[in-house]
């Protein structure tokens, strides 16, 4: 199994091209259209939904049980 995994990794490295294999005609135009001054803004906008979902999931995992325990124990009600 270990040999198979190492062989798989080596095959991937061997398959990695040393030079760009993309279209030589359109690739410069594509790169120019990607790396514009709006690049960082585009990244931020695209990642916004993922960041929101991650915050919800991680918040529920780490903070959820603590809040539930406090609510169950009457933490909020006993102070009023």
């Amino acid at each position: 199994m270990k040999r198979l995994f190492i062989g798989y990794l080596l095959a991937i490295i061997w398959l990695l091209p040393t030079v760009c294999q993309a279209c030589t005609v359109c690739r410069p135009k594509v790169q120019a259209a990607i790396h514009t001054p709006e690049y960082s803004a585009n990244v931020a906008l695209l990642l916004l939904p993922v960041v929101v979902l991650l915050l919800l999931g991680l918040g529920l995992y780490y903070i959820g049980p603590v809040l539930a325990r406090r609510i169950t124990a009457g933490f909020f009600f006993s102070r009023s």
Binding site: A33, L47, V50, L53, G64
Partner: protein
């Protein structure tokens, strides 16, 4: 010696992130690649030339890389939750979390990307884009409700949630 009360929330959270990640892949594979209804920035840069299409493919890749990271984090949370003694094992709760996660992805992505930012719409090649966007949101809400019912069905009397 005090033991921590049972809680299903860590399992639910792991299911949410995994479901959101898998929902993101469904969006990418079905709507971006197979049906080609939209790309991540197709409302900003219509894919009507080869270069514009390739630029859109790049931004699709950035988004799907982020979704992949979210799925891996969900898998990590699932692994950790499975080894916690205070987290009861419940297949129905986990399935509810997965379903809610998919629905949450559709709702969050639909509200932010389609409605708020206008980066793209579900179906770019129609005159009535809003109807498709609303159908996408509606499907997300439906999945959220279905997931909620499953989570409710998997309640454990001893657990605090």
């Amino acid at each position: 010696m005090t033991t921590a009360p049972l809680t299903r929330l860590p399992l639910l959270a792991a299911g949410l992130l995994l479901g959101a990640g898998l929902g993101g892949f469904v969006d990418g594979i079905v709507l971006h690649q197979m049906l080609q209804w939209h790309h991540m920035l197709s409302a900003q840069l219509p894919p009507d030339t080869l270069v514009a299409t390739k630029v859109n493919m790049y931004w699709d890749g950035v988004f799907h890389a982020a979704v992949w990271v979210m799925t891996v984090i969900g898998l990590r949370l699932f692994w950790t939750a499975a080894r916690r003694p205070d987290v009861p094992w419940s297949g129905i709760t986990f399935c509810g979390g997965l379903t809610m996660g998919w629905g949450l992805f559709d709702v969050v992505e639909g509200l932010i990307d389609h409605q708020l930012l206008g980066l793209h719409h579900v179906q770019e090649y129609t005159t009535n884009k809003l109807a498709w966007d609303m159908a996408f949101l509606g499907f997300g809400v439906l999945l959220l409700l279905l997931g909620g019912l499953l989570v409710r069905a998997g309640r454990i009397p001893q657990a605090i949630d």
